[in-house]
Amino acid sequence: MKQIVVLSGKGGTGKTTLAAALAQLASKEGRVALVDADVDAANLELIVSPVKLEQHQFTSGRVAEIDEVRCRLCGRCEGRCRFGALVRLVDERRVLYRIEPTDCEGCSACFHACVHGAIRMKDRLAGEWFKSQSRFGQLFHARLYPAQENSGKLVTLIRQAARQAAAEAEGEYIIIDGPPGVGCPVMAASTGVDVAVMVTEPTVSGIHDLQRVLDVAGHFSVPAVVVINKHDLNPVRTEEIKRLCASRDIEVAGLIPYDEAVPRAMTRGLTVLDDGNERLSSAVAEVWTACRRRLEG
């Protein structure tokens, strides 16, 4: 079983678009499981037509809560909280302490500080995850509730579920649509994969961010290849990326042209291969060929 993650550093370079197309090509050669690891803003479902099979709650960390009956308003909790989560509400009749869930990190400092037993720690329901059937294989995706800590735990969870399902069904490929950035969720999406496909664009932002995400891949010893999306938008910067990759001994696995067909396909809920665009289809096929070479060699 081989795992491929699609990353970028910068948002909006075309990870989901490419991940869906790679999954489509892979599904013609073997069983595929898909993972949408961008749990903050999961978009893969918009083009692979999933039907939900299972739904699970995701709890992560804890959140503090004040029992107003027991609270004696001593303020020890406020004195200890480093995250500004203790709110002191004053109106003409009384003073009240409340914990703001979006600020609370669940550290329990207030719980330990309270001598009146007025604070309890509750498990935090932070999101949900799903196992769905998509047209290319089973899709493991999630919804992290807004304003939650995106620690990567949810990403790890859906990757484990995908690995388990793939093992049981003797699947060949797991294609992971990665999140933007370089933080925890990116690391959780990358550990143990066989190849990371970095989608970049020939822009100053894209190049800046590519270097940081390549650093992350390097730290994790994950082999990376680079795909330059919208390469014809700025040929000079495209050459800059090629030189950058050469200096880091990284293969440029494909060049995808800037084409209106891409957003058009997305708007219709299709992959770029469904659309039948020759230029795009052959560009993506080249990327898949390069991936396969990596996976075999």
Binding site: T102, N150, V182, V204, Y258
Partner: protein
């Protein structure tokens, strides 16, 4: 007035809008602060070319155990909510990357064996973009932007502490200053930290299904959970369809600007040219936008 530029989806044009706003506003008398809070991938500097004057390391207060004073009670391991401490006998192991800096272990150690040290996880830089720094310390002249950028070190987990430090730097902004926050994509903690305390949340989207899907999440956080005023900027207008505008209309969310899908803009962006310089008319458009927001917010 504090304006946070956010979005659900990445790559919609937050930095494009944030830098254009800052540049359009900078040519007036009001002090302008541009805070790049996308600390995992800060990009604003590529468009406003700041001169950085100072840099400081920021981080998380992590425990340091004095083995002499430790009596092996293991209370530190018990009270850590993040499993960042393990103890065996009088050996205490601290796992820095899990530490949130809450202070429990240090505060609750019965023998006072734990002190805290700042572990650097990133940096905050401060400088100027465009114009001249006046003698009284802030930009009275035209074109000057107070530029503050936060960067999270590669390999570090927690963006929020770095973002907090960036925002702290702007606390010296005088009343009447314009503070523009360039937020990271998404709707989790780092974005929330950027939206807290903002007078207005400017949500940048593209009129595609991905853009709309993620815009709805952003609205849920900014407007419903955090109670911010929200307005939308549709970037790459003409690229997708009308569902995004229909959604905004249905929700009563103002579409404050539509930036057309234009290859010239894309090419200029690719070379680090801000929107206000790429095409005519945008400086005026963004100034008008700021005036509208100032009226609505009452600042």
């Amino acid at each position: 007035m504090i304006i946070t530029v956010a979005s659900g989806k990445g790559g919609t044009g937050k930095t494009t809008v944030a830098t254009a706003l800052a540049l359009a506003a900078a040519a007036r008398a009001r002090p302008v602060y541009l805070l790049d809070c996308d600390v995992e991938e800060p990009n604003a500097h590529l468009f406003v070319n700041p001169a950085i004057e100072s840099e400081r390391a920021v981080g998380i207060l992590t425990p340091v155990v004095d083995a002499e004073k430790c009596d092996g009670c293991r209370h530190c391991a018990e009270v850590c909510s993040f499993n960042a401490i393990a103890a065996y006998g009088r050996t205490v192991l601290v796992f820095n990357e899990l530490c949130h800096g809450c202070g429990n272990c240090s505060n609750l150690c019965p023998t006072g064996a734990i002190r805290e040290e700042l572990r650097p996880t990133g940096s905050v830089e401060r400088g100027w973009a465009g114009g001249v720094k006046a003698a009284d310390g802030w930009a009275g002249g035209t074109g000057a932007i107070h530029f503050i950028r936060g960067t999270l070190n590669v390999g570090e987990a927690m963006a929020v502490p770095v973002i907090r430090e960036v925002k702290k730097e702007a606390r010296d902004a005088p009343r009447g200053a314009l503070v523009i926050i360039d937020a990271p994509p998404g709707t989790s903690c780092p974005t929330v930290e950027c939206l807290k305390g903002a007078d207005y949340a400017l949500l940048v989207t593209e009129p595609t299904p991905f853009g709309l899907h993620d815009l709805k999440l952003a609205v849920e956080v900014a407007r419903d959970q955090l109670g911010r005023r929200v307005g939308v900027i549709i970037n790459r207008d003409g690229l997708g369809d009308g569902r995004t505008e229909d959604y905004c209309r249905g929700e009563g969310i103002p579409v404050l600007m539509k930036i057309p899908h234009d290859r010239r803009i894309a090419v200029a962006y690719s070379d680090g040219i801000p929107l206000t310089e790429a095409l005519d008319g945008y400086t005026e458009k963004f100034r008008a936008l700021l005036e509208r927001l100032a009226t609505e917010v009452g600042r």
